[in-house]
């Protein structure tokens, strides 16, 4: 990373008459857009930049130098599973033969793509201990919403009106937001002091409103990185009340090899391929949020669905012939309001196929013999950090953690150095900050997720820096409070940004 700011905007590099493309000139110009009635045409040309190719290449290369990714250094951003994004995944996803496929071309002409799609569905089902998956959702939040739709479609098919969803108060904000978008009312389940679900409170809620409960959403390990020890009891209680259990797969990485959501009694879940299955986060997307269901709920999954079929032909010359292959079930427009039918559709086509290629490549690279080590190694790394940092950072919950560990700021808070300050100081030392101020259960949350890919040397170096910062907080608190010092920009004025929002170049010129 370049620690000097490259401050230009592409618009500032534009000069009339420059261009960065080449198109063939020998085309039939019989028709031009001037034929269109004036009422249908825009008055003024869009003020897009005019730049030569090298200017554009340098601009975005320079911008990239002001960015920090997993390839630049340790990125222990809790709950985001910033694992290594293998390069071979990119090579496979970039194959021209995949890039050139149109989603509506006949299934017989794209069996290879459909096979990848189908096999990934099947692989995820095995890893999750569930029956079937849809790969249509484009992100984790999108998956959550889709999963809740499945749950509502199921209850609707039973003629059962259930409008409430139980969500632990420790849940990620996306859970209640997804529930609200899906038309469900959120009821919070309290947490105990150790961050796990208060089963007594859950029991009380179920006795009060059990027949209205559509589902309970859970992350396990929860957002504190703690495995919910009473999960089997919880799923049983909710099932008894007629509700379904939703598993938020945000923290699935911890469990690979050791435990499957389906075996814990979950009915519906999503997986973040960009977390657990190594596809790059890309600065915020594209992700992929496949949704899996247990047996008996498959019919509600959204269309399109990729299916494996065997078709029998009776050809006059060859006699009976069998064709085994993959087809796309596009569903019908009337599905949405019919019970026992797909719930509808949640995206343009099949979801982010390019991302699926990367995830499937990852699964094939690891194979059954390596995938099982992912959870244990990620968990080992996190527990190692937990034990080695607890002298300097307040560990509010002792005992085992899973893939991530949450501290509640410094042990010694006397100098007034906050979690924010520690996070910013880490940037000076060439690390991405952990997730901060989440979970909300603690005031100074500092959530560290190392993933299985980080070496002991990398983690030791990080631990040393964390201790060093704790020391600085005592000896030179101002240094920490005013950090970062060694980054392209210093702390930003958030209030100014929100007060009079400038969200386009044109607005900034006003």
């Amino acid at each position: 990373m370049n620690r000097t700011l490259y401050g230009n905007l592409i618009f500032e590099l534009s000069k009339k008459g420059r261009k960065g493309y080449s198109l063939p000139q020998d085309y039939d110009r019989t028709h031009t857009t001037a034929e269109l009635p004036e009422a249908l045409r825009r008055k003024e040309a869009a003020r897009l930049p005019e730049c030569d190719e090298l200017t554009v290449v340098r601009h975005y290369t320079n911008l990239s130098h002001n960015n920090f990714g997993v390839n630049d250094g340790f990125y222990p951003l809790g709950s985001c599973t910033m694992k290594y994004n293998p390069v071979i995944n990119e090579e496979i996803a970039g194959m021209k033969a995949f890039a050139g496929l149109h989603p509506l071309q006949p299934a017989v002409t794209c069996q290879g793509a459909l096979e990848v799609y189908y096999n990934l569905q099947e692989s995820l089902a095995e890893l999750a201990g569930l029956s079937e998956f849809t790969l249509n959702p484009c992100a984790g939040a999108h998956g959550e919403l889709t999963g809740l739709m499945v749950i509502r479609a199921y209850h609707e098919s039973q003629g059962d009106i259930r409008t409430k969803v139980l969500i632990p108060d420790s849940a990620h904000g996306t859970n209640p937001a997804s529930a609200a978008v899906c038309g469900l009312e959120v009821v919070e389940v309290k947490s105990l002091a150790d961050g796990t679900v208060d089963v007594d409170h859950l029991r009380q809620l179920l006795s009060e409103m059990g027949s209205e409960v559509a589902a309970m959403m859970m992350t396990n390990p929860n957002t504190l990185g703690i495995f919910e020890p009473r999960v089997l009891e919880i799923t049983e209680m909710v099932h008894k009340a007629g509700g379904l259990m939703y598993y938020d797969g945000a923290n699935l990485n911890a469990l690979l090899g050791e435990c499957r959501p389906g075996d814990m009694g979950f009915d519906v879940m999503h997986i973040n391929l960009h977390k657990t299955f190594s596809t790059p986060h890309g600065g915020g997307g594209p992700g992929s949020g496949p949704v899996g269901v247990r047996k008996g709920l498959e019919q509600f999954l959204p269309t399109p669905r990729v299916k494996k079929v065997v078709v029998n032909y009776d050809l006059p010359e060859d006699g009976p012939t069998e064709w085994e292959g993959f087809i796309v079930d596009w569903g019908t427009a009337s599905d949405i309001n019919n019970s026992n039918k797909p719930l509808g559709s949640v995206g343009n086509f099949f979801g982010n196929f390019g991302v699926m290629l990367k995830a499937y490549t990852y699964i094939l690279s690891l194979g059954s013999e390596n995938i099982k080590h992912v959870g244990p190694l990620a968990t080992l790394n996190a527990n190692y950090i937990k034990e080695r940092l607890r002298d300097s950072y307040l560990l509010p919950i002792s005992g085992l953690c899973k893939h991530e560990v949450v501290f509640d700021g410094l042990v010694d808070k006397s100098s007034g150095v906050t979690t924010m300050d520690v996070a910013k100081r880490l940037l000076d030392y060439g690390y991405h900050a952990p997730t901060i101020y989440f979970p909300l259960l603690f005031h100074e949350s500092l959530m560290i997720e190392p993933t299985e890919n980080e070496s002991k040397e990398t983690i030791d170096a990080f631990i040393d820096v964390m201790h060093k910062i704790a020391k600085e907080a005592k000896t030179d608190p101002e240094l920490v409070k005013t950090a970062p010092h060694n980054t392209p920009i210093g702390r930003v004025d958030d209030v100014l940004a929100a007060k009079n929002p400038i969200t386009t170049y044109w607005k900034s010129k006003e």
Partner: protein, 449 residues
């Protein structure tokens, strides 16, 4: 150990010791016995890189992944993109980063999102754009929810029948679960039936109307006067517009739209079997605080430098939880970068050239198809851009099979006799002529025999 796992036996022992465990499995002692997974996964064994390449080469052999000359559209288009774009988005500083929470080390991402927002605002004419959405369909569904949420008293959101049926289905799915009705406004001769719309608006209770431009059938519709009629009833006007065509076509803002949405795949993104693309979403300043998704804004840092940062976060789920404007908590960032670099290279002139070439190619193909005597215009007299519908007199499925066998994806069948074809600047005159020739030569009787 495996190449993505750095732990040596020695590392393992030291780390386990520090963690107070004998084996890694002890770290799962808190998992109830009944929930432990004790067998091997039924998955293929690990493939070496060599074998992986072989595996995928077989899957993409011509038989398995036919590379067809593409005249299909219906929401996914085969446009050109300069080589630079794909190369730059693969830069690992962009690719392997996450949402720019730490602005100090994420100016690269924040910067390009700001540029992206500026370009989308400029193309659509709207005041403000968000950092992008999953795709055009979900962006449209979000717009429908925005309309519904914005209305004080309403009983439905209207949607034109000329909106892509795939998009319509997504909007209807979201609306069904979110809990509001979508009422379809019928079409006549391939365009929105204005008298039916006027009637709906006059009845009142309309939270908004969703239209598409060009519409699903490729027709450029005239939406003059609709915004005013809606605004009188406090409804909002949502225009789903193909951003590539906005180099030429009247902008959503010029139509009086309150919200503009659409699919950005047409801005040079490879088709890749339908995804990833990128949804865009923009609105008027008035609706700014109801806009879902991430938004990047300009500010200053404590050294007085211009800096960019995620802003207006009070709308978002991590602060507002169930009261957020949406559950979306990411964007399609890398594809927004793709579009930004594409538009930087194509610029003002390039996008116009793409539009002219696509328009010219589509109109030339339509003329040539009509001249074969085998086709009629499905929607006579309607202006179209780079996609159009024709009715085939014979067995359309047989004709399409013949084209496929000859390496041509001749469009998308949208009715028993109706074929929809799209032409982009990537289709040469030779390809257009060859497609017409295949169709001209096709004789159904021979195909059947």
């Amino acid at each position: 150990m495996f190449k993505y796992f750095p732990h040596t036996e020695e590392d393992l022992q030291e780390m386990l010791k520090a963690a107070g465990a004998k084996s890694v499995h002890d770290l799962f002692d808190d998992v109830p016995e009944a929930a432990r997974f004790k067998r091997e996964y039924e998955l293929p064994e690990a493939l070496s890189e060599t074998d992986l390449r072989l595996f995928f080469e077989q899957l993409t052999a011509p038989d398995n992944a036919m590379q067809l000359v593409c005249f299909a559209g219906a929401g996914c288009y085969d446009h050109y993109a300069p080589s630079v774009v794909q190369n730059l988005i693969q830069r690992s500083e962009f690719l392997t980063s996450y949402t720019p929470y730490q602005a100090e080390i994420s100016q690269g991402t924040l910067h390009y999102i700001f540029e992206y927002q500026s370009m989308i605002a400029e193309l659509t004419g709207m005041d403000i754009a968000n950092a992008s959405m999953y795709d055009g369909a979900t962006a449209t569904a979000e717009a429908a929810m925005m309309a519904w949420g914005n209305a004080k008293k309403a009983n439905c959101v209207l949607m034109s029948e000329t909106v892509d049926p795939k998009v319509r289905r997504v909007v209807e799915t979201y609306a069904h679960f979110h809990g509001f009705p979508i009422k379809l406004v019928p079409a006549v001769n391939g365009v929105l039936d204005r008298s039916a719309l006027d009637k709906e608006i006059a009845e009142g209770g309309v939270a908004g109307l969703i239209v598409q431009q060009p519409n699903y059938y490729g027709i450029v519709e005239n939406y003059t006067g609709i915004a005013d009629a809606l605004h009188e009833q406090k409804g909002i006007f949502v225009v789903n517009a193909n951003p590539s065509d906005l180099a030429i076509l009247k902008t959503p803002a010029e139509w009086g739209a309150d919200v503009a949405v659409g699919e950005g795949q047409s801005l040079g993104i490879p088709m890749t079997f339908g995804g990833p693309g990128v949804g865009y979403m923009a609105c008027t300043e008035k609706l700014m605080r109801k806009l879902p998704g991430r938004i990047v804004g300009q500010t200053l840092d404590n050294r007085g430098q211009r800096a960019f940062v995620l802003t207006l976060q009070a709308r978002e789920q991590h602060i507002r939880r169930q009261k957020a404007t949406s559950n979306i908590c990411s964007n399609q960032s890398l594809m927004a970068l793709y579009v930004t670099i594409y538009l930087s290279l194509m610029g003002k002139e390039g996008l116009r050239e793409v539009a002219e070439m696509s328009y010219a190619g589509a109109h030339s193909l339509r003329d040539k198809l009509i001249a074969t005597g085998k086709f009629k215009d499905t929607f006579p007299g309607q202006p179209f851009f780079n996609e159009f519908c024709v009715d085939y007199e014979g067995d359309l499925e047989a004709l399409l099979d013949e084209c496929t066998a000859n390496g041509y994806l001749a469009g998308v069948q949208v009715g028993e006799k109706t074929l929809m074809l799209a032409v982009t600047e990537q289709r040469s005159t030779e390809e257009i002529d060859e497609l017409v020739e295949i169709i001209q030569q096709f004789k159904e009787e021979e195909a059947k025999a």
